[in-house]
């Protein structure tokens, strides 16, 4: 069974996205990056992100990730902010009752795109 199947597939992504996005939007360390952002579009992007880090089907090339975050890097997006997002990802999964070892696996996939996010 893949990690994605173990977590519950598309239904898990749908359950996680609102919880995760609420955590990010209420955290003053990172929510400044989300001002003036269209919520509907952002939720669709968060779903794509969650599917990828849950080990689900994706066409991830890093190109979109780099392009989307380039303006934020100019505004000061750094490792610290990526850490905060990964922290919220872990807390979201914990709330949904996901086992620690699976959370660690998700966090490591999320970590693997850090350089794309930060345009390094």
């Amino acid at each position: 069974m893949t990690l994605y199947e173990k977590l519950g597939g598309e239904a898990a992504v749908s359950a996680a996205v609102d919880i995760f996005y609420r955590k990010v939007l209420t955290d003053d360390r990172v929510n400044g990056f989300f001002d003036d952002i269209d919520m509907d579009g952002q939720i669709a992007k968060q779903k794509a992100f969650l599917t990828m880090v849950f080990g689900g089907p994706n066409n991830y090339t890093g190109k979109n990730m780099r392009e989307a975050h380039a303006p934020l890097v100019e505004k000061g997006l750094s490792d610290l902010h990526v850490d905060v997002v990964i922290e919220h990802l872990g807390a979201t999964l914990k709330e949904l009752g996901v086992a620690d070892e699976d959370i660690a696996e998700v966090a490591s996939i999320a970590n693997s795109v850090r350089d794309d996010v930060l345009n390094r």
Binding site: E10, V13, S14, V17, D18, Y21, R22, L25, T26, D38, M39, D40, I43, A44, K45, K47, A48, T51, G56, P57, N58, N59, N64
Partner: protein, 326 residues
């Protein structure tokens, strides 16, 4: 085995079980897409012939499902199909002005009769195209199917071109055109859910138009949950349809009409206060509510965020931000 796939006036062959997106991309047709996994929803199409498969609608908002939209990456052929990009096949329909009525100091009710039925759902919007080719978008404020005409609410903006056309040139029985409909802000109750969820609707100015259409539609479909409509205004004279909405609230005990005014006197027929704060307070304990927001973009976005953070599911927030014409 293969089937026919119609797109943009052409017919292509699609293999049994092949995805619509891949088939069209292989033909060199550009369809917006990204994840190809049924997640990002950027490859959404309208299925005009055939039935969307369940997998192709997984994760879509109820309103998109109701419009027969599907994710083309997950839509595999099991029969002949016809698809188009959402709203790509809108045609212009001639209509006649059958009524012009002043609703308040800056809002006009325009009723239009179509010669042939226009498939529009109350709350969606249409482009009104005048005799001198001016086009502006307005929401459907009634149930055209029941009333036999389409009702729009038009705010007259000082020096606005459409307002000038209405005041100077428009006449009863004059022919104009409508294009559309578009938008996913309307009442929908999915097959597998009870129709007793609470609904909260909020809008300012002519944001009332789609909300009025949605309220009437929900009531006509026998919605059992509470339906609370907030209409916000700066001053009392900016409100409109007050008597009509009040009467409607008397006829249906699950419908409440809450006019609210920023600069008003307490104790009058309206509630004093900022609609944003009133709605935020109102939805605190309504996590299962469907929220409908229409009107000025800044206000719609702010209310949307507040409601989402207070626990309303993103898929249950429907909105239509009115963008100014350029």
């Amino acid at each position: 085995m293969s089937f026919n796939l119609a797109y943009d006036g052409e017919c292509y062959s699609i293999e049994d079980g092949a995805s619509v997106l891949d088939t069209l991309l292989d033909q060199g047709i550009e369809i917006p897409h990204s994840c190809k996994s049924g997640v990002c929803q950027s490859c959404m199409v309208e299925v005009v012939t055939g039935t969307p498969t369940e997998a192709s609608q997984t994760g879509l908002k109820a309103t998109f499902k109701a419009l027969n939209y599907a994710l083309s990456c997950c839509l595999v052929a099991k029969e002949d199909l016809g698809v188009s990009l959402p709203n790509a096949e809108d045609s212009e329909v001639p209509v006649s002005i059958i009524k012009m009525e002043v609703l308040n100091h800056n809002v006009l009710r325009l009723c239009l009769k179509t010669k042939k039925q226009l498939d529009t759902i109350p709350g969606q919007y249409l482009s009104l195209i005048t005799s001198d080719s001016l086009a502006r978008s307005y929401s459907v404020a009634n149930i055209p199917e029941v009333d036999g005409y389409i009702e729009l609410h038009i705010r007259i903006i000082p020096n606005g071109r459409l307002g000038a056309w209405l005041l100077n040139d428009a006449r009863l029985w004059m022919e104009v055109k409508l294009r559309g409909p578009a938008g996913e802000c309307f009442y929908v109750c999915e097959k597998d859910e009870e129709n007793d969820f609470p609904m909260v609707l909020a809008g300012t100015s002519t944001g009332l138009a789609p909300l009025y259409g949605i309220v009437r539609d929900a009531l006509a479909q026998g919605h059992k949950g509470s339906i609370d409509l907030f209409h916000g205004a700066l001053q009392p004279e900016d409100l409109y349809l007050v008597d009509e909405l009040y009467d409607l609230s008397q006829q249906h005990k699950n419908f409440s009409y809450i006019p609210c005014v920023m600069k008003g006197n307490d104790g009058d027929f309206y509630t004093c206060g900022d609609i944003q704060e009133l709605v935020a307070k109102h939805v605190v304990n309504k996590k299962d509510a469907r929220l409908y927001l229409c009107g000025a973009p800044d206000l719609v976005n702010a209310m949307k965020k507040t409601a989402f953070l207070s626990g309303i599911a993103s898929k249950h927030i429907f909105n239509d931000a009115f963008l100014p014409s350029k």
